[in-house]
Amino acid sequence: MKVTWPHLGHSDIVLKSLFRDLGVDMVIAPPNNKHSLTLGVKHSPEFVCLPFKLTLGNMIEGLELGGDTIIMAAGSGLCRFGYYAKVQERILRDLGYEFDMVTTALFESKIVGVARLVKRLSGGAPLSKVIAAIRLGLAKLSAMDDIERAVHRVRAIEINKGIATKLFQEAINAIDYASDMSGLKKAKMDYIAQLNDVAVDTKIDPLKVGVMGEFYVVLEPFANMDVEIELGKLGVEVKRSLFVSHWTKFSLFLNAFGVTEKEKTHRAAMPYLKRDVGGDGWESVGEVVLHAHSYNGLVHLSPFTCMPEIIAQNIMPSIKADIPVLTLISDEQMGRAGMLTRLEAFVDLLHRRRSASLAGALG
């Protein structure tokens, strides 16, 4: 058996770690690129969203490289995502591929379900070993997210542009390489220290821009055309509340943790939207309300034809909060130049707004 899976940002590292520890063979499809997009688009319905197309592309590439078991998330939420695994399985079978599709509904099955699934895939490894492997995988996720937060801060004010991004890539490799908790801890400390040592211009007070919206396009840099790196190049500090580690904790351990970050966003959204509308629509509305005073602006990312985000986008203008929101919609037709123009103009707007309000406050 050779497992393969579609990508989601750098969360690959977790599955890689897990299966390596348990001795499961795996095939890793190349990171999202033009080819995977072309493959995905070719075999997908036109108006399905970008996450469907890209993940399908990854699956085809994984199968072509010898994978025979696909792992895909599923769910029973309100957005179409819930049945993507099923539809993709059909498309792939129609294309003549032979494989097993293993789906896991993280949110519904919680940690117990995931542990059971991993145990099955590993051919019956002892539970203690499975738990240790999952623990290391989740720790890696947290470590990457901690480093990414530091990257966001440094990227905006580093003197030589590009160093933070380079260190981030190296850090991911080092975390991938770590084989136990102590090695992981060392790698994390090492890169946090290196990031703290990057030469920065402390005189700059960078604009703070929140990046939020639909889960996949927020977390997969290829799908959002590296929006965070581009904002960093424009001297903006990216603030993001959506991290894979948060989400995993929320999905897997919800009951144990009580009030979560997510519930806070839901409460904030209440005056405008009182219920879940699928995907991350409810959270997107909540984020605008929550961050109106702490951030200078928000970039709202949404895949084309995403129902939950369309709902959120249409509610946003009515939110009584004085914060500019730029909605960027991505699909295979979106051009990089168009996105850069919008980002540049948005950052200009935020700068001029801030200086005008400063001038106003002074007299």
Binding site: P317, P324, D348
Partner: protein, 324 residues
């Protein structure tokens, strides 16, 4: 005479504007890009040089529009600015208390909201270019008329017909259908104007607070039919400023003026000699990683002066030492 130059290279047209010390327009050009941005930039510069008095001294240059980086490295720009900011600055120059800027260009349309002279919100078409200048161009050509006559014809309409305007292909089928049913051309044209305005207000301007003074600019503001349709729908006066078609270039020139004043440095302008240089472009696929980016490079007399298009800055960096 000290002047500042603004260049706006858009998808369909290339605009030049020269402003004097008092920020008054000295001369301007409005030409079709015809898919040849490099040639048009060079030809335009030649024309500008000829129109300027001999004692004219270029203090600063600003570029904007979709080819702003290309234009910027070719001529040596002091400011390279996105077209949203440039248009807002241009509109403020003529209507200082402007609150809403509606701009419809060749392939994109935008709305910019300003309060107290500061941009507070904007939107630009994202997934669809229905209702922009290129489509009007096409329809004028199909009906065998010059785009310049389109607006006047549309104004003759007495009973406009309703045209489906969401998708340009369906709009065209609907227009053909209405023609076949025997509706008059001017009624169809004005119906199309109304459809475009409806489309603009429902998509780009969705949820935005449109308050007067409203300035309408960009190439499509030449079209009297669209102006009337906007005024009827918004129930408010729509101002079309002088030189509205080159407002982006004027904005770029004003930004260059500001930049030179604050930085107190000499302009990076390479001089009118750049019209004599031989520029060439080529592209290749970078194989350094799985992203396989398309890198475009521009040569001036055989030397690479800039590269772009990658997801990382590997190629942009290699071009740096030769850039300025």
């Amino acid at each position: 005479m000290d002047v500042c130059l603004g260049i706006d290279v858009g998808s369909v047209t290339t605009k030049f504007a020269v402003l004097d010390e008092k920020s008054d327009l000295v001369t301007s050009l409005y030409w079709r890009t015809s898919g040849k941005p490099i040639t048009m930039i060079q030809e335009g510069l030649k024309e500008v040089e000829q129109r300027l008095p001999l004692n004219a001294n270029i203090l600063g240059v600003g570029t904007t529009g979709s080819a702003r980086y290309l234009a910027g490295v070719m001529v040596g720009a002091d400011v390279i600015k996105n077209e949203i900011t440039a248009h807002a600055i241009g509109a403020l120059h003529y209507v200082p208390d402007v609150q809403t800027v509606m701009e419809i260009g060749g392939q994109d349309s935008k709305i910019i909201l300003l309060r107290n002279g500061v941009v507070v919100d904007f939107a630009m078409n994202t997934v669809c270019a229905a209702g922009t200048g290129s489509f009007l161009d096409q329809q004028a050509a199909r009906l065998g008329m010059k785009i310049e006559e389109f607006g006047q014809q549309a104004l003759q309409s007495e009973t406009p017909v309703r045209i489906a305007g969401r998708c340009t292909v369906f709009a065209e089928s609907d227009m053909i259908h209405k023609q076949q049913m025997g509706h008059r051309v001017e009624d169809i044209l004005y119906g199309l104007c109304e459809a475009l305005v409806r489309n603009y207000l429902n998509n780009i301007a969705l949820g935005k607070e449109i308050t007067p003074p409203i300035v309408f600019q960009g190439g499509v503001a030449f079209n009297q039919g669209i102006i009337r349709a906007f005024e009827e729908t918004l129930k408010s006066q729509v101002i079309v400023t002088p030189h509205h078609e080159v407002l982006g270039a004027i904005g770029a020139a004003l930004l260059a003026q500001e930049e030179i004043k604050t930085k107190k440095e000499k302009s990076k302008f390479k001089g009118f000699e750049v019209t004599q240089l031989d520029y060439r472009t080529s592209s290749f696929e970078c194989k350094a990683c799985a992203n396989i980016c398309e890198i475009a490079q521009i040569f001036s007399d055989g030397r690479v002066i800039a590269r772009w298009g990658g997801r990382c800055d590997m190629w942009e960096r290699t071009s740096q030492p030769e850039r300025m």
